[in-house]
């Protein structure tokens, strides 16, 4: 038996099954289960022989195919309630439905890839290669806990210019305002460090309110806070889309 080897690995058992159906030019609504099951199992053997990592899902579908095959060999029980239903009684129906659904999404994926893509087909003005969270250098962000936040808070406080403390207008800031300001900045930037959130006019009150606002937003799950390592910059990410 000569194999036609498709070397790019299948995206999963359904993908392999679709490939076999297409290769044999079979009507998806009338799959010859015996033939397809045999070819499917041959492919699994081949993949094993090639030392391809055979995921458990392939075996699950193999079992499903064998189950369908055995059910098709059994005589259909004569009318249970309302006569024999050819369509609903077809043991292949569920699998066909699954294959059609998968095929639709596979096509949808291809359509997505055919679009003009940012950073592949079109480019933004002066956009740096976008550093994704988790890809900045070799640091992997860890979720910052309350203590790292408190540390950052204390560090900001210690950097204060004491002389400016006398100038504070106590009425000027509220927690709600700070929360809104922070969400506004994050809506534009998506992620910011704690220091960036502080802005330029650093006062003790502003730090306190920023800190409280960050805690409140964390509690509301509107932002997420990461720190790459101890004492590294704390990065704040927006969770929602506005």
């Amino acid at each position: 038996m000569s194999y036609e080897i498709k070397l790019d690995v299948f995206e999963g058992p359904l993908d392999l099954l679709l490939y076999l159906i297409r290769k044999n030019e079979i009507d998806i609504y009338n799959i010859p289960i015996a033939l397809i099951t045999r070819q499917y199992l041959e492919y699994l053997d081949l993949m094993k022989a090639l030392n391809l990592d055979l995921a458990g899902e392939y075996l699950v579908l193999a079992a499903t195919l064998l189950h369908i095959k055995s059910r098709m060999l059994l005589p259909v029980p004569e009318e249970e309630d309302g006569g024999t239903e050819d369509e609903a009684g077809d043991p292949r129906a569920e699998l066909v439905q699954q294959l059609l659904e998968y095929q639709a999404f596979k096509e949808a994926a291809l359509q997505l890839d055919r679009r003009t893509l940012l950073e592949r087909d079109v480019f933004k003005r002066g956009a740096p290669p976008e550093a994704l969270p988790g890809e900045e250098g070799e640091e992997t962000p860890i979720e910052a806990d309350i203590f790292t936040l408190v540390e950052a808070f204390q560090r900001m406080l210690s950097q204060l210019d004491q002389a400016d403390l006398m100038e504070i207008d106590l009425e000027r800031i509220s927690l709600a305002d700070r929360i809104n300001e922070i969400m506004d900045s994050l809506a534009l930037r998506r992620d910011m460090t704690f220091a960036e959130l502080m802005g330029e006019q650093i006062t003790r009150q502003r730090i306190v309110y920023t800190f409280l606002a960050v805690l409140e937003l964390m509690k509301l799950r509107m932002i997420r806070v990461y720190q790459a390592a101890s004492f590294a910059a704390i990065r704040i990410f927006i969770v929602g889309e506005e």
Partner: protein
């Protein structure tokens, strides 16, 4: 009028993210939504008529300049880095999330017939997919949806611009 179009031109030029009409209206309060859209239309036509290297596009709920797709080979040389490609597995997973959102992981697993844990994590890290909530069933599994960045990367105005899955079936037929 001409001056206001130039102002919009400058605003969009200076914005790092797609600029929303609402934001433009805050800066040019004398216009209503329709007024701004009218200016944008004229501005987009200006840029088109100019036949320059970039044009004005409405993407992800805002407006931004993008280089012309046919000029990509040259821009890519400037960028040096290889374009970020998504694997077929990642694209399939993303497609399921995009069309079925909000969707739980188990449903994506079922559609694709494989465990999508790894690819889903990758999509979350690339900020193409995000957690949008929890499903109100036992175990309260996480619901996933696409992000604004997804719209930006795939150059979509909004989710309704995705072809419907039934349209896809017609293509196959």
């Amino acid at each position: 009028m001409e001056e206001d179009i130039a102002i919009l031109d400058a605003l969009i030029f200076s914005s790092e993210t797609p600029l929303t009409v609402e934001r433009m209206r805050e800066i040019l309060p004398q216009y209503d939504r329709q007024g701004i859209l009218g200016l944008l239309k004229t501005l987009a036509e200006h840029h088109e008529a100019r036949q320059g290297g970039f044009g004005l596009c409405e993407i992800a709920g805002g407006w931004q300049f993008y280089s012309r797709p046919d000029l990509a080979p040259w821009v890519r040389k400037l960028k040096a880095g290889r374009p970020q490609m998504l694997s077929p597995a990642a694209l399939e997973t993303l497609a399921v999330v995009a069309y079925r959102q909000p969707v739980v992981k188990a449903d994506i697993d079922r559609v694709r017939g494989v465990d999508v844990g790894g690819t889903l994590k990758g999509l979350l890290e690339k900020r193409l997919v995000r957690m949008v909530g929890r499903k109100d069933v036992p175990g309260r599994p996480i619901l996933y949806g696409t992000t604004k960045r997804f719209l930006e990367v795939f150059q979509l105005k909004d989710l309704t611009e995705l072809p419907t899955l039934t349209e896809l079936k017609d293509i196959q037929a």
